[in-house]
Amino acid sequence: MSVPALELTGLKKSFGKAEIIRGIDLSIGKAERHAIIGPNGAGKSTLFNLITARFAPTAGTVKLHGEDLAGLEPYQINRKGLSRSFQITNIFPAMTVFENVRCALLWAQGYKYSFWNLVNRSSALTEGADEILDQINLLGRRNLPAGTLSYAEQRALEIGITIAGGANVIMLDEPTAGMSNTETDYIMDLIMRVTEGKTLIMVEHDMGVVFGLADRISVLVYGEILATGKPEDVRADRKVQEAYLGAALEAEH
C-alpha cells in the first residue's frame, strides 16, 4: 500500500494534568473521506489543532505523506499541502469576499512575499478566485465585505478559503456547526463537490451528517479512538453504541 496521506502514531496531549488526547493511532489513505465523530469534549478539535500545529503534541508523531511534521509552524504545514477550516468562522471580515479567496491563492500561485507584482494585474489570480467563488456559489456576493454575509455563507466562504490553495489534504472542523437542516444539506453537498479526489478529514458532532459522505468513520471518546471503520460497521459496533450513541441518546432524553 502507498504512503498514507496522514498518519498519527501515539499522539498525546495534556493541558497541565488534564489528558485530552490519550494516544491516538490513525492512518488515513490518499483520497479517503474520513470523518471523526464524538460527543462534546471528546477532543476532536484538539486533535485537529495538534495535526495542524496550532498546539504542540505532548507525545507522538504526525506524518503528512510520510513526512514528520514535528517542529513545523502552521504556515509551513500549509505549504506542504494541508489546509484546514475552523469550528468558529475564521475569515477576514473586513475584506471583500473576493479578496478573502484571492489571499488564499497567493502562496499557492507562488507569489510568496512578492512586492514586485500587482495583484490586480494577474488574471490567474482573478480568474482563480472567481472560479472558487463560483464553486461555493458566492459569485453574487463577490464585492461585499465578508463580515456582512449570512452565517451559512460565511461558512461556505471558509470552505472556499480552505480549498482555494489547492491543498490535497483538507481538514474541516465541524463545517455544519450551528446550521439548520437545509443549510447542512447544502454545505455537505458543497463539501462533496469541492473535495473531489482529495483527502478529506472532517470533524462532526453528528454521525448522521457524515454517514453518506465518509468512506470511514473514527469515533473519538475521551481522547481515545473507540472504533474506526466503514460507517455501517461503526454504527453496528457495540462499544460505539454504548459509549457514544448511548450517551447521545441519554443526553437527548
Partner: protein
C-alpha cells in the same frame, strides 16, 4: 462576525475603483483605458496641484510651509503602512526618519563623496539607513503585533533618543548636526540655493514615494499585510508567516520614513534630537490618525491639516497645540475613521444622487456649530489672556475686535454667542440626522 473596527468598515480593497477594475465581465479595451484614466486621475491631479502650487503661493514662508507639509505627508504615509495597513501601532517611528535624516547630514558633511553625487538622490540614502535600522529592530519587534509590538517600539524609540546625547559623533549632541546642501554635485546646473528649488525636489520625491507606497498596498505582501492585520491566525493557515509579513511591512515603512528624514535634512540642513524623540513619534501618530488610517489618502489629509494648524494657527495663537489636541480628541471620539473617513462617509449619498439633500441641513447645523465653537475658543483665549498677559495689559484683540479682557461684557457676549450657536446646532441636529438617513436610503427620491 461583526466589524469591530469602524475604520475597517470600508477597507481599501472595497473601494469602488477596485471593484470595477476586477469586474469579471471582461471590459473592452477602450473601457479599460478609461478605467485606467479614472484610476490615475487622482494622481495626475495631485501631481499637477503640487507642481503648480508655487505659482500661486510665491513667497518663501509659504513655500517653507508646503515643504514641511510634503515631508510630513511622506512620513505619515510611511507610518500608515504600519498602523493602517499592517495593524501595528508604533510609538517610536520617528527614529527611522531621524536616523535616515542624520545619515543624510553626515553624507552632506562628507565633502568628497557628497560633491560627487547630485542632491536629488540624497533622500534615497536616507531611505536605506531607515530601512537598515528597521531591519535590525524589526527582526525582533515584529514577532507579534498589538501591545508587545507597541511596547518594543516605545522602548527602542526611547533608547535611540537617549543615545543621541551619548553617541555625540553621530547625533551631534544637543546642537545636532548641520550641513550645507549646496555642496552637492550641481544637478543640471542647479545648486538648490533657493527654497523653490528644494520645493520641486521634495514634490517629486513626495509623488514618487506616495505612488510606490500605494503600489505596495496592491502587491501580494501588501494584501497579506491587511490579512495579517485582520486575522493573523487565518493568514498562517494560508501559508503566510504573520511575522514575516509584518517584517516586510516594517522594513518598507522604515525605508519611506528614512526618505522623509532625508527630505527634512535637505530642507532644514540641520537635524537634532527633536527629530527622533518620542514627541515626534507621537505627532506622526496623531497626524496619521487625524487623517484616517482606513484609507490610503487619509494620512495626506492629516499631514496637510496638521501642518496648517502647526504653522498658520501657531502664528495666531500660542494655544495652537491645545486646539490641535482638541481636534485630535474629537476625531478619535466621534470620527474614528478620521477626516478621510468623514469624507468617504458621503460617497453612498453621492452614488444615490441624493447628496443635495444634505446641503441645507448641513448649513443649518454646522454654521451655528462653527460660530459656537469659535466663541468657545474666544473664551479659552480670554482666560489665557486674563491669566498670562503682563500685569496691567488688559487689552486684547480677538476676531478683529479689541477689548478689555478684565471687564464683564466681552465674557458675556462670548458666552452668549457660544450658547446660542451650540444651542441652534443642537436643535437642528435631529433634522440633519433625518436628512442624512434620507440621503443614504435607496429609492423614493424627490
Amino acid at each position: 462576525m461583526s466589524n469591530f473596527d469602524p475604520n475597517t468598515d470600508m477597507p481599501r480593497g472595497a473601494r469602488p475603483e477596485e471593484q470595477i477594475t476586477t469586474d469579471p465581465s471582461k471590459p473592452s479595451e477602450r473601457m479599460q483605458f478609461r478605467l485606467m484614466l479614472f484610476n490615475l486621475a487622482p494622481w495626475i491631479i495631485a501631481s499637477l496641484v503640487l507642481l503648480l502650487l508655487p505659482a500661486v503661493f510665491t513667497n518663501n514662508s509659504t513655500i517653507t510651509i508646503m515643504n514641511q507639509m510634503m515631508i510630513t505627508i511622506v512620513f505619515a504615509l510611511a507610518y500608515n503602512m504600519l498602523l493602517g495597513q499592517g495593524g501595528m501601532l508604533s510609538f517610536g517611528h520617528a527614529v527611522y526618519a531621524g536616523v535616515g535624516g542624520f545619515a543624510c547630514m553626515h553624507i552632506m558633511n562628507t565633502s568628497d563623496f557628497f560633491s560627487s553625487i547630485p542632491l536629488v538622490i540624497l533622500p534615497f540614502f536616507g531611505g536605506l539607513f531607515g530601512m537598515g535600522l528597521a531591519m535590525i529592530v524589526g527582526s525582533f519587534s515584529t514577532r507579534s503585533a498589538g501591545t508587545v509590538f507597541a511596547m518594543i517600539s516605545l522602548g527602542v524609540g526611547e533608547l535611540i533618543a537617549a543615545s543621541s546625547v551619548i553617541i555625540v559623533a553621530f547625533f551631534g549632541g544637543e546642537g545636532g548636526v548641520s550641513g550645507n546642501r549646496t555642496d552637492a554635485l550641481p544637478f543640471f546646473g542647479n545648486e538648490f540655493l533657493q527654497q523653490i528649488n528644494v520645493y520641486y525636489l521634495i514634490a517629486v520625491w513626495t509623488i514618487i514615494s506616495a505612488a510606490l507606497m500605494f503600489l505596495w498596498s496592491r502587491t501580494p505582501v501588501g494584501r497579506m499585510a491587511n490579512a495579517v492585520r485582520d486575522n493573523p491566525e487565518r493568514a498562517e493557515f494560508l501559508g503566510y508567516s504573520a511575522r514575516w509579513v509584518r517584517f516586510y511591512s516594517f522594513v518598507a515603512s522604515g525605508f519611506f520614513a528614512g526618505v522623509s528624514g532625508g527630505l527634512f535634512a535637505i530642507n532644514y540642513e540641520i537635524l537634532t534630537e527633536e527629530n527622533l524623540n518620542t514627541a515626534s513619534s507621537g505627532v506622526i501618530l496623531l497626524v496619521t490618525f487625524l487623517g484616517g488610517v482606513g484609507f490610503f489618502f487619509g494620512p495626506i489629509i492629516g499631514a496637510v491639516v496638521f501642518t496648517l494648524v502647526q504653522t498658520v494657527l501657531s502664528l495666531q495663537t500660542e494655544l495652537w497645540a491645545f486646539y490641535a489636541g482638541s481636534l485630535f480628541l474629537a476625531t478619535v471620539m466621534f470620527f474614528p475613521g478620521g477626516l478621510a473617513g468623514l469624507i468617504m462617509m458621503h460617497v453612498p449619498a453621492f452614488k444615490l444622487g441624493k447628496s443635495k439633500l444634505l446641503i441645507i441641513p448641513y448649513v443649518k447645523t454646522l454654521v451655528p456649530a462653527a460660530i459656537g465653537i469659535l466663541a468657545v475658543c474666544a473664551l479659552v483665549e480670554m482666560t489665557f489672556h486674563y491669566r498670562h498677559a503682563a500685569t496691567g495689559d488688559h487689552e486684547m484683540t480677538l476676531f478683529w475686535t479689541t477689548f478689555d479682557s478684565h471687564t464683564v461684557l466681552p465674557w458675556l457676549v462670548a458666552a452668549a454667542i457660544a450658547a446660542v450657536g451650540l444651542g441652534i446646532a443642537r436643535a437642528t441636529a435631529p433634522s440633519l440626522k433625518e436628512a442624512w438617513n434620507e440621503a443614504n436610503t435607496r429609492g423614493a427620491a424627490s
